[in-house]
Structure formats: C-alpha cells, structure tokens
Symmetry: C2
Subunit: 209 residues, 2 copies
C-alpha cells in the first residue's frame, strides 16, 4: 500500500506571482503540472498537451457528459476545464499534481475534491500588486484600475483556502509551499489508516517473536 499523491491547488489574484512560484517548485521537486483543456484555437507557439489540451466543442461536451472535469467554465464562448481522470490517475499513483487556477475554478475544485491542498498566493503588498499589473501590459488607466480593484476584491476569498503564502520573494514562497506539503503528508487525516495498518502488520511479527 502506498500513500496517495497530493492535489496542490495554487490560486490567488492575477499579478500575485503564481506562475513564477510554480516554476520554482517544479525546478526543485517532482511535481506533475495539470494541463487544462480548452475549445479555443491554439495560438502561435502553443503546443497541444503542454499549453492546453485543444479539444473540439464536441470532444469537450463528450467529456462533460462523462463527468471528466474537476471544474469547467465558459469564457467568451470558449470552454475551459481541468480534466479529472488525468489528474486522478497521477494522484492514485502517489504523484503530486499542481493545479494553477483562478479563484472561481479553485472553489469548484474544492467542492469536487476537498482533500486537495488549497494555497492562496498573496502579493507582498497592494502597491507591489499594482506595479506588477502595470508591468504586464500597456493597459489604459481605467482598465488597470478595474483589474486592480478586482484583485483587491479577490483577496477576500483567501478565507476559503487552507493556506496563504505571501510572495515576498519567489524562493521563500516556494520554500513555504514545500514545507506545507511536508506537513500535509504528516497530517493524521491522511495517514490514519496507513499507520494503524502498518502497526497491525508489525505487531503480529514482533510481539511474539
């Protein structure tokens, strides 16, 4: 018997630095990054199975009928979703899976799979978040303000998560997440049956030898 892998859900407002932290985690540890499925057309340079699984609308709807998404959403007429069987096979096999996802998606995943580890990435400060959003693109002051206010509102969802990690520096944030994963693997809720099973196994050999 081996332990299941962890589903690590990394979420938070845009501009908090989720992507960079995940790159750092993958550089240092053995994780499998979940790839989303979408019905939108591939853009230049995007690779099927790496950037996204590119599906036709029919393929997507067939998977929906089979209940094979942990969550899905329609954005501007395109479907996006997290394929369930891909993720669950890895987890059952003892592998840890990282899922980078927006807040709405994360909350749906939590309903479908509450055993996941839900981590909210916080920007070091609102000022820093603003800087990062500005750096991202040439947006108008108005659209910038909209994005910033939306990020501000999103931070309230932190209360739905298990952990909050402030992205002061990428290295420290990644280390904190690694510690969270060590801790989660020690959680009695996850280990109980395993401990008592192995105790049974050992006791019969040892007590009467």
């Amino acid at each position: 018997m081996h332990n299941k892998g962890l589903l690590i859900v990394i979420s938070g407002p845009s501009g908090a630095g989720k992507g960079t932290i995940i790159k750092e985690l993958i550089k240092k540890g053995k994780f499998w990054l979940s790839v989303s499925a979408t019905t939108r057309a591939p853009r230049n340079g995007e690779i099927d199975g790496k950037s996204y699984y590119f599906l036709t609308r029919e393929q997507f709807e067939e998977r929906l009928r089979l209940n094979d998404f942990l969550e899905h959403a329609e954005v501007y007429g395109n479907f996006y979703g997290t394929p369930k069987s891909n993720v669950m096979e890895r987890i059952d096999n003892g592998e840890d899976v990282i899922l980078e996802i927006d807040i709405q998606g994360a909350l749906k995943v939590k309903e479908a799979y509450p055993e996941g580890v839900f981590i909210f990435i916080l920007p070091p400060s609102m000022e820093e978040l603003k800087k990062r959003i500005i750096k991202r693109g040439s947006e108008t002051t108005e659209s910038l303000m909209t994005r910033f206010k939306s990020a501000y509102k999103e931070i309230n969802y932190v209360s739905k998560y298990n952990y909050a990690v402030t992205n002061d520096t990428v290295e420290v944030a990644a280390e904190k997440i690694e510690s969270i994963l060590v801790a989660e693997r020690c959680r009695v809720d996850r280990l109980k049956d395993h401990i008592l099973d192995s105790k049974e196994g050992i006791i019969h050999e040892q007590l009467y030898d």
Copy 2:
C-alpha cells in the same frame, strides 16, 4: 499587531524518542520549553524552574482553584500539571512554546486549547520501540511486555492528533516538525483577520494615491 505564537504539543508512546527530537528542535530554533509543576520532592540534581516548578500541595491546590493549569493529573499521590499563565503569556507575546506531555495530558490540553499543534511521535517500527524500551532500564521481561503492550495501545490515540511524525532519524523528524510549524503559520485559520486587516490598511493608501 503581531501573530500569536504556537503551542506545540509533542506526545506519543514512551520510547518513541520525543525528548531527543525536542532537544534537536531547541538547538535549531527559538522555542520556549514549557516546564511542568509538581508536588513531588526534587530528586538529586533537579533544578526548580528548569526540571519542574516544585510546589507544595497547598500552592498547587491554590493554582488549581485559580484555574491556572492547562491540564493536571495525580500520579502515585503527587500532583503534576502544566501551568497555564506561563504558557499563555509567551504565546500572546508571539513566542512558540513546546510542551512534551503524555497522551492523556495532551488530550486534556487539546480540550483546553484546540488551537495548539498536536504532534504524535511514532517509533520507526514496533521492533525499534521494543529495543528502545529494553535499552532504557533493567526491567523484567514481564514489566517490559506490559510497557510494550501499553505503547502498542497508545498508538491508537494518533487519530486524536493533527500530525504524526515517524522518528526514523532525529534530524529528519525535527525537520518535519519545523516544516509543520512553517505550514501552521501559513494556515488561513490563523491568519485570516491579519491578512484582511493589513489589506484594509494598505488599500486606502494605495488605491487613491
């Protein structure tokens, strides 16, 4: 505003190696080790305030009346207890307090202070536990068997704890506990008010500057 310290309760069957792991933790980090109070007479070399707080029966009963114990028990006619105000002052001050305690005591502390971090130390195997119990003293085979069986039964209490850490090696076990503490400090349950408070503080400065 600062965060409270953690009450770290280290418990588990005798022979699992709690004491050695705690020494390793204290060597590496800033912890305050809780000292128990007792009415039993000091033994050779024991120092008041370090080994125990040695109290008269009257002093102990006075503290009991003041509800100043996180837990207490009577063993062979002597009282033992964990002084509450000593521990709580440190925690309120942001310091982390380690409490090494037997399983019955730990369960009482959990009732009094469920925010504590309850860690159960498991021996690497039942065989190893047996070896350690044998190494401890010149016991008869019979009393050894009694102690071993009692340790075996105690392992069932692991389900009441938050975390289980197997003491394969002292260094690895101590590192796991350090990770657990990093993770606990990131738990949203502990941070929620703090995050939302600082957000409020920052947002008013930043949004309209």
